[in-house]
Amino acid sequence: MSSSRSQTRSNMAGGPAMRRTRPTTARGPRFGVVGSLLFHGLIFAALLFTFQRNFKAPEETHVVPVDLVTIADQTNVAAQAPPQPEPQKMDTPPPALEPPPEPQMQEVEPAPEPDIPKFDIAKEKPKPVEKPPEPPKETKKQQATDFNALLNKLTAPDKPVKTAKAGPRVIQGIGAGNMMTADLSDALRGQIYRCWSPPTGAPNAQDLIVDYDLALNPDGTVGRLQMTMGTAAAAAGNSYTRAAAEAASRAIYQCQPYRLPPDRYAQWREINPLRFDPRQMMGQ
């Protein structure tokens, strides 16, 4: 007790001198400790918040695809309009199909020649003649393709091409690029599949795999759509492949516009290859 008191006293005694020599510094540290503690505490708290936010951020990006898929549900409903195949009553009931009452049968006793339809009519008759495509259609198509070409240029500017050669091709196959865009692939897949009705009755499922190069506009509509070279070549020589390619094209158009995060347009502006592969559906 006494020693401590004396110490304080001595401190007090020596105080004036000390006070004079470093009054500011003496006062400074005291304020400084509290102040800096507060200050650092604030910074720490601020950092914490920011970090917390940062930690949440990746989760948000992971959440995005999920949101997208659900949004997709809604969009599809709108896009497809009434896709439910509620069998609309044909206003022309096929009379031939109504179970005709027995009397419709023509009795042909032993010699049925007269009642049997003559088959030889077929020989003279129906010769399907390929019609020359009429001019108006051609010109329209021409315009359309020209317009498409124009769109191509608009949607795929030269810029990326310059640096593209080494870059994208390398990145495409490996993890990082795919990881970053896996959610986009899922979102797009989730929106297209509803509209896709592939010709699953074909004998060889391999013939039905088709690849497209699709460029999307920022609003999710189809900007440009073309078969890849391989698919175009296969479709030219195989009617099943052609049918499969057309079914895929109908699906792509029917389910547009696609709902994808606008801020990542750069990542989904081009989809290539957009592959349709019905082998799983066919159990092959």
Partner: protein, 438 residues
């Protein structure tokens, strides 16, 4: 300042990287699951192009709609909902108006009576989304043949959209059944694929079974009990003439034409042993293919004519076997549950359809010619006797319910979807679909 500059440069570089990299890499997407749905297609009544029956256009479009709907792959839309009214088939339609009613395909057509009295039918198939013409054809025929023209239009549309040949311009030969179960009358009958124009070919005072078309759809081979002797006969549709195929002391049954139409494979029973023979229709020479003491029957050619599938109980129970057309290399291919019989080779060559008897039920199944990939595609109290549509895509078969009300003909897609009752006048069994009519 310099630090700030460096940081700025670094930041800019990072941003450039972040923005540039994904832009360069095209997104890759694999769509592996779909939603099998019939294609919504708009088929307005064909326009009258002048002369003839003003109703012809509506009639033809009606048959086309019914054909395509029956296939299960198309959904013809109700005309009442159409926004655009086609007035000229040579004008490009307003695709947006057809998209607005969810049509993905559009068929426009016109029927004109030619100065020479013939009917001319033009039609175009449009891709509503692709905004282009997929097909444009013209047919000429006599006016009374309008149904066949309609079926040909259906076949052309079906082929263009699905990639495989149609089967609407075909006929079905079948056994028409009438009378009580104990005294059933079975007559050979024929009708169009859509059930129109049914005609009896035999009078009904003798029983007929298992009719089969030849490759030109002009001739039918079948088994008949004329004079209480079960024998294989040939029936010429054009002349109405029947003839017994060979004159054997014993029963012959289960005939089937070879793909070139020059031979008939059939079963001949001698001393209680049934074996498969090949008869040359020009020389009437018979060649024995199986010699096993078991029952070998129900032969069916592969479409290349090199092999024959058949059923045999040589292994103890009825199973499916395949052999070369000269009788060599006989080997069993069915090893699944139950008994398997009446194999029928698909015209496409990729599958065999057969009747499967298992756990008290009769089902229709398909398997590859090597016996792999067996699938049961229908299941019923008594489904049997499959026959292929010429495109190898659709099967018909006989179905009998437990209530014994008589057999019916049903059709099914080889995917197992679209099972439908084929309407016939009265009970019917043993259908055989013709090849596309030439």
């Amino acid at each position: 300042m310099t630090y700030l500059k460096k940081i700025l440069v670094l930041l800019a570089a990072l941003m450039a990287l972040g923005a540039a990299t994904p832009a360069l890499a095209a997104l890759q997407v694999d769509v592996t699951q779909g939603n099998a749905q019939p294609l919504p297609i708009a088929i307005p009544d064909f326009l009258p192009g002048g002369g003839g029956d003003p109703q012809a256009g509506a009639n033809i479009a009606g048959v086309v709609r019914a054909d395509l709907e029956r296939s299960g792959l198309f959904r013809p839309l109700d005309q009442k909902g159409f926004v655009e009214h086609i007035t000229d088939i040579n004008k490009v339609p307003t695709f947006a108006s057809w998209r607005s009613i969810t049509a993905q395909g559009l068929v426009t057509g016109q029927v004109t009576q030619q100065p020479d009295g013939r009917l001319r039918v033009d039609f175009r198939l449009w891709d509503v989304y692709g905004e282009s013409q997929m097909l444009g054809l013209q047919f000429f025929s006599t006016p009374e043949n309008w149904r066949r023209i309609a079926h040909m239009v259906s076949d052309a549309i079906y082929e263009r959209v699905t990639g495989e040949k149609g089967y609407f311009d075909t006929r079905i030969v079948f056994i028409s059944e009438s009378g009580p179960a104990t005294k059933r009358v079975k007559r050979l009958a024929i009708m169009d694929e859509d059930g129109a124009n049914p005609i009896f070919l035999t009078p009904g005072n003798y029983m007929v079974l298992t009719p089969r078309f030849n490759p030109t759809a002009q001739m039918i081979a079948y088994m008949s009990y004329i004079g209480a002797k079960p024998r294989v006969y040939l029936f010429d549709i054009e002349t109405g003439k029947q003839e017994m195929l060979g004159n054997f002391p014993n029963m012959t049954f289960s005939p089937r034409f070879s793909p070139d139409g020059n031979q008939v494979a059939l079963t001949l029973e001698t001393a209680g042993n049934s074996d498969i023979y090949l008869m040359d229709l020009r020389t009437r020479a018979m060649k024995r293919l199986t010699t096993d003491p078991a029952i070998d029957t129900a032969p069916s050619f592969s479409p290349d004519g090199k092999q024959i599938a058949f059923e045999s109980d040589r292994g103890g129970a009825q199973q499916i076997y395949v052999m070369n057309v000269d009788g060599s290399n006989q080997h069993r291919i069915s090893f699944g549950e139950g008994r398997n019989g009446t194999p029928v080779w698909s015209p496409r060559g990729d599958l065999l359809a057969f009747t499967k008897q298992d756990k008290g039920r009769f089902n229709i199944g398909v398997m590859r010619p090597d016996g792999s990939g067996e699938r049961v595609i229908t299941s019923g109290y008594h489904d049997e006797g499959p026959t292929w549509a010429p495109n190898g895509r659709v099967l018909m078969f006989s179905r009998e319910a437990q209530n014994n009300r008589g057999a019916q003909i049903w059709s099914v897609d080889i995917t197992g979807r679209n099972e439908r009752h084929v309407l016939t006048p009265g009970s019917a069994s043993d259908p055989a679909l013709s090849p596309l009519i030439q």
